[in-house]
């Protein structure tokens, strides 16, 4: 069990939410662990994990009540001013992740789906080696491993 100093923050997109919902029982387990990290964080309590408003809305468009569950794992944010002119969703997520990577714990993990993981990895903002060191993009079983590792429960 950690003391709330979790070694990474998560930026979550709606593709990740859709992907984990394919297995509801596993989704419950994953959500419980992300909730633990999100609420127990000493660095960013209740603000540890981030989801863009647009991803949050897409995640609940077929079931509004799901929003209550997602609010327990990630804090929805509107697009920051410096990204207002950015039209590419993956660029927005990566550039936002870069912008918070200088704050503790200085490691960001983007949680997405396997097919969208490639979109992120091929994005022009994800070429620099320093960026790749600070920001990891994961999905599926590797995402679960990272969540286990960070939550340490």
């Amino acid at each position: 069990m950690t003391d709330g100093n979790f070694p990474a923050r998560f930026v979550i997109d709606d593709y990740f939410i859709r992907d984990i919902l394919k297995n509801r029982e596993l989704a419950v387990t994953i959500i419980r662990k992300l909730n633990h990290i999100h609420t127990k964080s000493t660095h960013h309590p209740f603000r540890h994990n981030i989801i863009f408003d647009e991803s949050f809305k897409k995640s609940i468009d077929d079931k509004q009540i799901r929003g209550q569950a997602i609010l327990g794992i990630a804090h929805p944010i509107s697009i920051p001013d410096f990204l207002k002119d950015e039209t590419n969703f993956y660029s927005k997520v990566i550039r936002y992740s870069i912008s918070i990577a200088d704050k503790l714990p200085r490691k960001i993990i983007i949680l997405t789906s396997p097919d969208k993981q490639k979109e992120y990895e091929n994005n022009p903002h994800y070429r620099d080696n320093d960026v790749k060191r600070a920001i990891k993009i994961v999905s599926s079983s590797l995402a679960i491993e990272f969540i286990d590792l960070v939550s340490n429960i």
């Binding site: 959500i31 009540i65 799901r66 327990g72």
Partner: protein, 78 residues
């Protein structure tokens, strides 16, 4: 943890940090409850339990529902 005694729709309230909220529920002459049992549910919450409190945004505020953020809640909402 910022202290916040205001209620927002769907807000998660961690009672471990929110004894002020429980005190407010206990003493507030303004808060109303859709069902009387909701007040007791909030007051019975133990440290470390997360509550999802739905309330109206109009004044006087009326608490509509209370859920514990647990596996049963997640199965229902996901």
């Amino acid at each position: 943890m910022e202290e916040n005694t205001n209620l927002h729709d769907g807000e998660l309230i961690e009672i471990e940090f929110a004894n002020i909220f429980q005190d407010a529920v206990r003493n507030s002459p303004i808060l109303k409850y859709k069902e009387a049992s909701l007040k007791e549910e909030i007051l019975q919450a133990k440290p470390d339990q997360l509550l999802v409190v739905l309330s109206t945004i109009n004044s006087p505020k009326e608490i509509q529902s209370v859920d514990y953020y647990d596996e049963e809640f997640l199965r229902k909402t996901l």
